[in-house]
């Protein structure tokens, strides 16, 4: 190893220790500093993991997919180098390696799992030369103009051209844009998808650009549509169609708020598993992770165990993209749950914008006295990080009173009983690029989802 690289590693690790000491996230700065001193630091460090590097990219589900893959590696006894959620630009990737490297420059992981921002893919792959990759899907954002999605797809496609020789790439067969990447580059595509029509949606909404043929622009015909534009499509004009997946779930049952049962078929064998996180989108994440694991050569039992063990650390936090705002929604139904959600929110970086929706219908519990057992005092003690709290729902006023007594500055407090108005106000007051946290009780969550979907900009979340 070059002395210059070692020096960069030391400096980077020093910065890392310092940022940790002062309590800042420190996810990108150490990497940025090290890269200044030794531009090749990532190139050098990323060569080390015995089983190589796998990148995970795509619009939605990167974090969950990476988490599942990580659990699979753990089950196989492979130490993992992994970047934390959000630090998916080039400096963040570098930081992940610095973090896992010893002072002599040895990387601890036997494999590196890197969540990579789509636009960073070309540069990251050029430097890292991954042995495998996972692409989850491509969802357009509300404000995206025509063509934005294509640009995103192109970034990823260009990145995949830099993969190591003989690389395998897990691609979502049910997403036309994602599947079409299989024809680009010299890697071996490994398609994954759903094969159970019983979980399909009845109707396919039209007009979305994502539902037009990636080759000729004609509207696809869907034999079955699973989720938004994901499904079994074919072009009536040029014949472009969904490839047959090699990793798929052909039976899905017991889908409830806690998880899903599925039967997964892979080239290495099949198994049944119960996912501990809910939603069809997480079935997709599970298949993406399983396909990625097959690409890495993980044993089947480790794949099953990893899926079984992955739980949501955020409780049930959904991520929704509304206009150019990120919305996180997490159910709050009792004091303990509320406390852990608050902790999660306060751990996140950036200003906190909150909408708390409190209902007291049967399904929520008609007695809301537990609010006084929630530790809002520690929330209020960090109120310089809070931009606003909008209290909404049938018990909006109760919530506001609770926060007042917790010591929250009244100037930051708004009472807007109507959920739709509260959502609009929240979105309006969040800075572009900021995150709006919506914390509803059960029935308020159902209502809020309905409102979001009605407004049409339902880019249903994805990360759990």
């Amino acid at each position: 190893m070059h002395l210059r690289t070692l020096l960069a590693i030391w400096t980077g690790k020093g910065v890392l220790a310092t940022t940790r000491l002062v309590g800042r996230g420190g996810t990108s700065l150490p990497g940025a500093v090290a890269r200044r001193l030794a531009p090749d630091v990532l190139r050098e460090l990323s060569r080390q993991p015995r089983h190589g590097v796998i990148t995970i990219t795509g619009t939605n589900g990167k974090t969950t997919t990476a988490k599942m893959l990580s659990a699979m590696c753990e089950a196989a006894g492979w130490p993992v180098t992994h970047n934390r959620a959000g630090a998916n630009l080039i400096s963040g990737l570098t930081t992940a390696f610095l973090q896992s490297a010893s002072w002599t420059g040895r990387v601890g992981g036997a494999v590196a799992l890197l969540e990579v921002d789509e636009a960073t893919m070309p540069r990251a792959c050029e430097e890292i030369r991954p042995r495998a990759a996972v692409v989850t899907n491509f969802f357009p954002d509300q404000l995206d103009r025509f063509g934005e999605l294509d640009r995103t797809v192109n970034f990823v496609g260009r990145g995949l051209e830099f993969l190591a020789r003989g690389a395998k790439v897990a691609l979502n067969a049910d997403d036309p844009n994602c599947a079409a990447l299989g024809a680009r580059g010299s890697f071996t595509p490994l398609y994954y998808g759903l094969q159970d029509v019983s979980v399909g949606q009845g109707e396919v909404s039209q007009a979305a650009d994502t539902k037009r043929c990636v080759q000729c622009g004609t509207a696809y015909e869907y034999e079955v549509c699973y989720y938004e534009h994901l499904g079994k499509y074919s072009c009536p004009r040029c014949g472009h169609r969904r490839p047959q997946p090699a990793v798929y779930a052909d039976r899905i049952w017991q889908m409830d708020s806690r998880g899903t049962n599925l039967h997964v078929v892979t080239p290495a064998g099949d198994f049944e598993v119960r996912l501990q996180i809910p939603g069809l989108y997480n079935v997709y994440n599970a298949l993406a992770a399983a396909a990625g694991a097959i690409a890495l050569g993980l044993p089947l039992e480790a794949i099953r165990k990893g899926l079984e063990k992955t739980t949501s650390q955020f409780g049930r936090m959904e991520r929704i993209r509304l206009a150019d705002r990120n919305v996180f929604m997490a159910l709050v139904k009792n004091a303990a749950g509320f406390n852990s959600v608050l902790q999660t929110v306060m751990q996140a970086e950036g200003e906190k914008n909150l909408v708390i929706c409190l209902n007291d219908l049967e399904a929520d519990g008609t007695d809301i006295s537990w609010l006084w057992d929630v530790d809002f005092e520690s929330l209020a003690s960090r109120q310089e990080e809070i931009r606003f709290v909008i209290c909404s729902g049938l018990r909006a006023e109760d919530m506001a009173v609770r926060l007042k007594y917790a010591g929250l500055d009244l100037a930051k407090l708004t009472v807007t009983a109507d959920l739709g108005e509260a959502l609009d106000q929240g979105l309006e007051r969040v800075q572009p690029g900021g995150i709006l946290y919506i914390l509803p009780t059960y029935t308020a969550m159902l209502q809020m989802r309905g409102i979001i979907e009605k407004r049409g900009h339902a880019r249903k979340y994805w990360e759990v």
Binding site: D367, S369, W372, E397, D398, R402, Y405, A406
Partner: protein, 248 residues
């Protein structure tokens, strides 16, 4: 200048931190602070003796039914006589649910046994197989003119007041003491007993201040002022309950 102190006893915090009654403590403390007072909360748990003459205000909540016996025994043995004396001398007390019941003479269990209580007030409780749960609105004369008090009740005991005792209010909505005589709670000197959780004080700032003001007056006379504070939010929350659950 040193801020005038106010000593608040929180009885059995380990049993009353359910149903959010801890909220009553938070409200008393904050409203005292907003008046420039220096409140001090002393937790008085199981087995701990206390001289209630040292306190300016007492919160006595009640846990779940099955814990009643433990608390009842301890209260009778260790704390009852001192608190009774202090109440008769005018100590402001808020007794909620189980605490309310334990101020009485006895409690008849579901098995038909009679559990002797402190007998501080002439009231008693009989268990029933009816769970009385839901939002409550009462009208009280505590302030000269009738004012509403709102809360949430959750009890199966039916409490009856002896003839000389006044209730906290008349039930406009909900069950109240026993679901029969339309009475809710009790008031004796500066002691208030009630079945209202919610907790009761956050949405009834007038009740919180009724207790606090008496606590301040008892200790400092007119030397320490007790100015009003802005209760806009609290009153909004109070009105929201009246609008949703009030008799129309």
């Amino acid at each position: 200048m040193e801020r005038p102190r106010l000593r608040i006893a929180w009885l059995y915090p380990e049993y009353t931190s359910r149903y959010g009654d801890r909220g009553n403590i938070i409200v008393l403390v904050q409203r005292a602070r907003w008046r420039g007072l220096e409140p001090e909360v002393v937790q008085v748990g199981l087995g701990q003796r206390a001289d209630f003459h040292q306190f300016d205000l007492v919160h006595f909540g009640g846990g779940q039914d099955r814990e009643l016996e433990i608390v009842a025994e301890d209260f009778l043995k260790v704390k009852g006589s001192s608190l009774g004396e202090a109440i008769r001398e005018g100590l402001p007390v808020l007794a909620v649910c189980g605490g309310f019941q334990m101020l009485g003479s006895h409690f008849r269990t579901p098995e038909g046994e009679t559990l002797r209580c402190s007998g501080i007030l002439d009231l008693w409780t009989e268990s029933s197989d009816q769970r009385m749960t839901g939002n409550v609105i009462i009208e009280s004369d505590l302030w000269g003119k009738p004012r509403t008090v709102v809360g949430f009740e959750n009890h199966s005991g039916r409490t009856y007041l002896g003839r000389g005792l006044k209730p906290l209010g008349r039930v406009l909505r909900g069950h109240g003491n026993n679901s029969r005589d339309r009475m809710e709670g009790v008031v004796f000197k500066n002691c208030v007993g009630t079945y209202l959780h919610g907790p009761v004080l956050p949405k009834n700032p007038h009740l919180a201040d009724w207790l606090l003001m008496r606590a301040v007056q008892r200790r400092y006379g007119d030397q320490v002022p007790f100015p009003p504070v802005n209760d806009e939010l609290e009153e909004r929350a109070h009105r929201a309950i009246l609008q949703r659950f009030g008799p129309h």
